[in-house]
């Protein structure tokens, strides 16, 4: 078990190194570099040389990568080009804001998804199932930028209940942020919840049809006790990985939604820095998003391993 965790963590680190190499190589191969972008028409002669000197671009690529990686490991992403300020300072509040948005969506979405999935499975083909399933399919199929726009139209413009876009400074406090995130959270949570609810539903249905559930019924176990003791633990286990994937997907969803709502998070920063050709920031963002992906999946795998007695003993035996 211990070795397995170490192995998974090592694999995760290797993934991150590969990601950093690819992003670094990508920015290297692209025509033009940070200086030509920054200096635009003045990118020639002494100014360009000076810029190269300042940013250290005159050093060979592999050495630059190594020194960059060395700094990143110590938590220093260097300087952004556009703002001329340390990337860490740019990123800090953005990461926080995005986390607030994502966690709110997760905290609201997962319990709702579980409840909806279980209800639809237990009342399979009855009215609750038919209504909820229809709604979830709709929620799943509408892309978030459309549902977000529709939400703005209905809630913000027609009803005027909530602000349509977020106009706050980047380093806003959480309490100030809260009323602003309601609409973005709904937009993100909708698709995620629908996906998870369908997954939970099919998993519960599958377990309900298993021999051991029939056995529990024939043993005289009361219905709800059977559901909680015999069905749910076995049905939700495979759901953990799907939840992890959904959360990871959420990061992508956040990018689009943040732009629609003008939300000062990571997503908008991604778009901004790409359009500004702010390569150091793009690199930093790629690494950060990749590490979130990797760690969420790692956590999910370890959770499944810990909760599933079958896998646990298998590993010990080996």
């Amino acid at each position: 078990m211990f070795f397995l965790i170490i192995k998974r963590i090592l694999l995760g680190l290797i993934t991150l190194i590969i990601v950093s190499l690819i992003t670094f190589a990508g920015t290297e191969v692209l025509p033009g570099d940070a200086c030509t972008t920054y200096l635009e028409r003045e990118a020639y002669g002494a100014a360009l040389e000076a810029c190269y000197e300042r940013l250290g671009l005159n050093i060979p690529a592999h050495e630059r990568y190594l020194s960059w990686a060395y700094n990143v490991v110590q938590g220093d992403f260097g300087y952004s080009l556009s703002g001329q300020m340390p990337i860490n300072e740019v990123l800090g509040p953005r990461v926080k804001n995005s986390m607030v948005l994502a966690s709110a969506a997760i905290i609201i979405g997962i319990p709702i998804a579980l409840i909806l999935g279980i209800v639809t499975a237990l009342w399979r083909d009855k009215l609750p199932d038919i209504t909820i399933s229809t709604v979830t399919i709709f929620a799943m199929t509408i892309p978030e930028f459309i549902s977000a726009t529709l939400l703005i139209l209905v809630v913000a413009i027609w009803l005027e209940w909530l602000p349509g876009i977020v106009i706050v400074p980047t380093d806003v406090t959480i309490t100030e942020l809260l009323p602003n995130i309601i609409l973005p959270v709904i937009a993100i949570a909708m698709i995620m919840t629908a996906h998870m609810a369908r997954m939970v539903r099919s998993s519960v249905i599958q377990v309900m049809a298993s021999d051991y559930v029939q056995m529990a019924i024939l043993k005289g176990v009361p219905y709800w006790k059977m559901v909680f003791k015999h069905v749910l633990p076995n049905a939700l286990l495979p759901a953990i990985n799907v939840v992890a994937l959904t959360i990871a997907w959420l990061l992508g969803g956040v990018v689009v939604t943040e732009v629609v709502f003008n939300y000062p998070g990571l997503g908008r920063l991604v778009i901004e820095s790409i359009s500004n050709r702010d390569l150091p920031t793009v690199q930093a963002l790629a690494i950060i998003l990749a590490s979130i992906y990797v760690s969420i999946n790692l956590i999910a795998d370890l959770l499944t391993l810990m909760l599933n007695p079958r896998l646990k003993t298998l590993q010990i035996r080996k």
Partner: protein
Amino acid sequence: MEEIIQKVKNLSVGFKSQKGHEISILKNITTNIKKGETVGIVGESGSGKSTLALAMMGYVKQGLFTMDGECIFNSSDLLKMENRELEKIRGRKIAMIPQNAGQSLTPNLKIGYQIDEALKLHTKLNKSERDNKTSELLNKVRLPSPETIALRYPHELSGGQQQRVAVGMALAGNPDLLLLDEPTTGLDVTTQAHVLELLNFIAKDTGTSMVYVSHDLGAIAQVSDRIIVMYSGEIVLEGPARDILKQPVHPYTYGLLKSIPKLSLAGLPDSMPGSQPQPGMIQKGCSFYDRCNFAEDKCKKNSPNLEYVSELKTSVRCFNYKKLIEKKNDKNTKIKRNEKNIKINEILNLTDVSISYAKQKFLDQILNKITDTNPTVKDINININKGETLALVGESGSGKSTILKSIAGLLRTKEGKIKFDKDKILSNDLKKRNSSNLRAIQLIFQNPDESLNPNHTVEEILAQPLKLYFGLSGEELKKNIIELLEKVRLGKFYMTRYPRQLSGGEKQRVAVARAFAAKPDIILCDEVTSALDVSVQAAVLNLLQKLKEDFGTTYIFVSHDLAVVRAISDRVAVLYQGRLCEIGPSKNVYQFPSHPYTEVLLGAVLEPDPDIKPKLVAEDVVEERPPEKGCCFQGRCPRILGDKCKNETPPWQIGDNGNAIRCHISVEELKKNQI
């Protein structure tokens, strides 16, 4: 007057077809279960026997509904009861022992919890009393060290242990009636015999009534006082066990008993033609009409009623049962097998073959180093002559299928050589085998449902080997396919069908035809009949025998069913833990089993005869790995000598009857002390 515990009255259960017709799968069942009695319900798959057993608990599977009738327990109808009331009866008054205990125990809950749950629901004991009771129950079902078993998860137990846990759990509520749904199917022969013996003991010890559902007449014969035979959702015969087994007066039961291969009798059993009608197919007349040898015109038009024959104390659903009474003295003398001499003409030779499932470590793989000193299969030396049927027998985990796979090239051997046709060495890498060697060896799998591609028609399935090995096409291809179908006794019209449109027996025939399409020299049969019903099994065995005679094919036949092996094989190799124990002509192996393991194995076989009891000589412990040194059977051997068996690998010795065995005790000695 004996007390009646459960009364099933005019019970019909069915489902609604897509067109809205109501189709019954249980038709008008009436029977009583008496106190302290064990009733065996026997029938082939689809006969409705499990549905009947579940209805006796007031449980009807999803998609089915009760059309008519009642199941009365304690003067109330279980089928009309509310769930809350049923919860008080299920597990407490009536308990179920399921078919597949491995899948019927909840995987995330410990054994102790699952038994404790039943105790909590159905007794008034407090926590510490329940803990004691749990140990007591596990002890009663003869599980070693109950305290540790209670802390394990279901997957950490062997199949036999899981089944015992299920029995223990069913006994927790001290029920008046135990329903057993194929409780020993899927267990090894020795384990099966032990579980049955335990059930018999429990029936006597607790006085519980039992309903034992099985397709296996051998198991039914060992436990039942009374037998109910079901066919196509109806009771066709009901009466005292001994009479039914010794003198079956219904044509179906008569045929069924004849189609079971028997240990004491070499040769192939008679097969019954046809298969059970699908639910809803028979509108009028006797449902067995199509397959019956005694049928008359009236059987086609009128349905016979279940009639009580007082002189036999038996109820029978047949117009012509008297004809069968007359047939009484007609002992089954017909033995089809001609014991022809097989010429020594070696076609396949395995020399020192060993196979390992252990994954090589990365570094060892690069250095091509062999690390596993104790491989799953080791030291296999077998030669097979042309036209011979060699059977590999043994319990699960004995390596019989593993050997088959490595002959087919699906699994790499670790050491040793496989030689084909005297001088051609078969590579252990499938990709390096040439086309003619691949064609020469074909495989038939256990489960035709999984071995036939569901999206291909029978024509496409059979065309593949013909195209691949002989490059046939067009008219010629079609002609060959029709010929093949005729060989396996399927008509031309089967060509356009998909596997799902065929019955189990028909599917296996297609699989047989596919193997023969390659015109192979050797066919490897991996448990080819174990997924089939008894009557169908006999037909497939007969077909295989016929084809072998026509084509001179060689079979290597893997089976856990010793009676089937007896019926079809010329020579038998007995395997334990991937090591050969005994090999010899099947006649001799069955008559004078020399190796202690062969003796144990044969002793545990259940015969459909209440007078032949299995002999239980060794424990049914499951060993996970073969022992590092010494004899492979040392862990369970009833004749173990001590250190010699533990440290030295026994030598081969050849008895005067031609059996070669691997044992430290001399053949003469073993023969003298037969159990």
